[in-house]
């Protein structure tokens, strides 16, 4: 059972990673297209800054689940390392449950914002108006994935090392 839940969590994390990777690739493609159009043809897509913003948001939110599952999230572990061995997993689970509640609450607020935008038909103010519920949906997708992976992770923890970047 635990093994199956762990596999589901890994699969969801992998899905989030692929979406984040696609968003990074799309950012590169959009900016390069804009540079070619601007310098070679004297024209512009006019939406690059706005679209890159939405894609960047997608990278961050969709990347949360794989980052959490691979143990890449930044945390202060010097003090936890000093705690008695028996207390450490309890502390970890307690902190994960609080993060899970936070992610759930944030997901609810983003969902409400999405529904409001959809109901009112709100569009972005750019040259090519985009329904604002679309970028909200990308953030919501990432938060839901993150919350699910966290919930599964409490039951079936990943065997990953904590890593950080300087």
């Amino acid at each position: 059972m635990t093994l199956a839940l762990g596999r589901i969590a890994d699969g969801l994390a992998s899905l989030g990673l692929r979406v984040a990777m696609a968003a990074v690739a799309a950012i590169v493609a959009l900016i390069l297209t804009e540079i070619v159009l601007r310098s070679g043809f004297g024209t512009s897509l006019l939406i690059v800054e706005e679209m890159v913003g939405y894609l960047m948001s997608t990278v961050v939110f969709a990347g949360l689940a794989p980052a959490a599952r691979s143990g890449a999230m930044i945390r202060v572990d010097a003090l936890v390392a000093q705690a008695p061995a028996r207390a450490r997993p309890i502390l970890t689970v307690a902190m994960q449950v609080m993060t899970l509640l936070l992610a759930g609450a944030l997901g609810l607020f983003v969902l409400r914002s999405l529904l409001r935008f959809e109901e009112r038909g709100t569009l972005s103010s750019g040259v090519w108006p985009i329904p604002l519920w679309v970028p909200e949906a990308a953030a919501l997708f990432g938060l839901l994935l993150f919350a699910t992976v966290l919930a599964l992770g409490v039951i079936a923890p990943a065997k990953a090392e904590e890593t950080r970047d300087g």
Binding site: L17, A20, M21, A23, V24, A25, I27, V28, I31, L32, E34, I35, E49, V52, G53, Y54, L55, M56, S57, V59, V60, F61, A62, G63, L64, P66, A67, A68, S70, A72, M73, I74, R75, V76, D77, A78, L79, V80, L91, T92, A94, M95, M98, T99, L102, A105, L106, L108, F109, V110, S113, P135, E136, A139, R164, D165, G166
Partner: protein, 424 residues
């Protein structure tokens, strides 16, 4: 201090000490500040928090991070690091200090494609340390120079830490990139002088200049990316996208481009972007919440009450950051302190671009100090030496960096002349 402010700040300390991920600790603290301190009901606090969070994640400036990471990963997986050692042998071999300079020069060059100190230390260390060991160079001097120079990833542009500072302090990332270059080169020169002084012998290995020529395409790519930013042809994000295209073209021409290289590079860049981006957007929510309860203004007024000169304030901040560096990593220090420290710095009339370089140097010093100096752990995994022994080897380089900070404080033009020249 008001009890309603103490509760959220105390909670933040408990969360951090309990090992909670930094981004969730920042977000929960922000919600506590909005509800307990500002008196908002949870509903309004949630709406405000989630709105700021999503808006902050759509930053154009922030989008330079995945692109610079992608470029660095591509070059790393395309075999740049392996060529670094052989390519630098003819350049530095005849100097006093011999091939130990490869650690300093190699880290300086790799920092210009990587943007991350961990990647810089690990990549250069893995290639150079076994070779230097084999050639009989003093092991602890080699490890110490790697611990010191490995931190250049944060200072020498393109620097992820500079992008994060720029986003949080609303300072031009291009100016910060220009400001970081000369101090980075000055610290590198000081490190090289120290290495030459400690090990005056030149190397018996001369290498061939053909190997050095192999480094030119990567050096050209770095010059193209940074040149486009410095000369105002492109924003950091646009230059980073050109850098990605250039890195892809380079490794394709060398016949090393395949699906695995692209996939792994893209995956590493996306994952690390999420980690860093989550912390930065959570810090934006905390900064907004702190602003609502006038926490930065109160802190600035409290510090101003001591009537410190700018020099004394910087000294106090240096001590503060070095102590924080003992317990926190670089990104955490940036996001946790900037909302309250920036108003104080601004009130003291300190240039925000100069302060960005000062702050990054302080973080770099933190990377060399135990128990949380991350470069020490990277080197431990490469060399197998105990952390405290590595920290002792890094101590002279820590002191040299401290001297460099003093130099930049006494002569701020060392930091500011290039951004002033390019952008004024």
């Amino acid at each position: 201090m008001d009890l309603s402010l103490i509760i959220p700040l105390l909670a933040l300390l408990v969360f951090l000490a309990g090992g909670m991920w930094i981004f969730s600790a920042l977000l929960i603290t922000a919600i506590l500040l909005l509800t307990v301190s500002a008196g908002l009901d949870p509903e309004r606090a949630g709406i405000l928090g989630s709105t700021v969070l999503v808006r902050a994640s759509r930053s154009w400036e922030l989008s330079a991070i995945p692109l610079f990471l992608f470029m660095g990963e591509l070059l790393l997986r395309g075999g740049t690091a392996a060529r670094l050692f052989t390519g630098l042998v003819p350049v530095v071999g005849r100097l006093p200090g011999g091939l130990l300079h490869i650690n300093v020069v190699g880290c300086t060059l790799f920092a210009a494609v990587s943007g991350s100190s961990t990647a810089t230390t690990a990549t250069v260390g893995r290639v150079s340390l076994p070779q230097l060991d084999q050639m009989g160079y003093p092991r602890m001097l080699a490890i110490g120079s790697l611990a010191g120079a490995g931190s250049f990833g944060l200072l020498i542009p393109p620097s992820i830490a500079m992008i994060i500072y720029g986003v949080l302090s609303e300072t031009s990332v291009a100016r910060l990139f220009a400001a970081g270059l000369v101090p980075g080169l000055v610290v590198a020169a000081l490190y090289s002088l120290y290495v030459a002084f400690r090990h005056p012998r030149a190397s018996d290995h001369s290498g061939t200049w053909r190997d050095t020529l192999g480094l030119l395409p990567v050096a050209g790519l770095v010059a193209l990316v940074l040149g486009a930013i410095y000369l105002g042809f492109a924003s950091p994000t646009e230059a980073a996208a050109v850098g990605v295209a250039g890195a892809l073209a380079l490794i394709a021409l060398e016949g090393r481009l395949n699906r695995a290289v692209i996939y792994d590079s893209l995956a590493a860049a996306a994952r690390l972007t999420a980690v860093l981006g989550a912390v930065v957007i959570a810090a934006s929510v905390l900064a907004s919440a702190a602003g609502m309860v006038a926490l930065p203004r109160s802190f600035a007024a409290w510090v101003t009450g001591f009537e410190l000169s700018a020099g004394m304030l910087l000294l106090a901040l240096a001590v503060f950051y070095i102590v924080l560096g003992l317990f926190l990593d670089g990104v955490s220090i940036l996001v946790l302190t900037l909302p309250v420290v920036l108003p104080v710095v601004q009130a003291a009339g300190i240039d925000l671009v100069w302060f960005g370089v000062f702050l990054v140097l302080m973080i770099e010093m933190g990377l060399m100090t135990p128990p949380v100096g991350f470069n020490l752990f990277v080197l431990q995994s490469i060399s197998g030496e105990p952390v405290l022994r590595i920290a002792k080897a890094a101590l002279p380089f820590f002191v040299i960096m401290g001297v460099a900070v003093l130099l930049f404080t006494l002569f701020p033009q060392i930091v500011l002349f290039l951004p002033d020249l390019l952008y004024n």
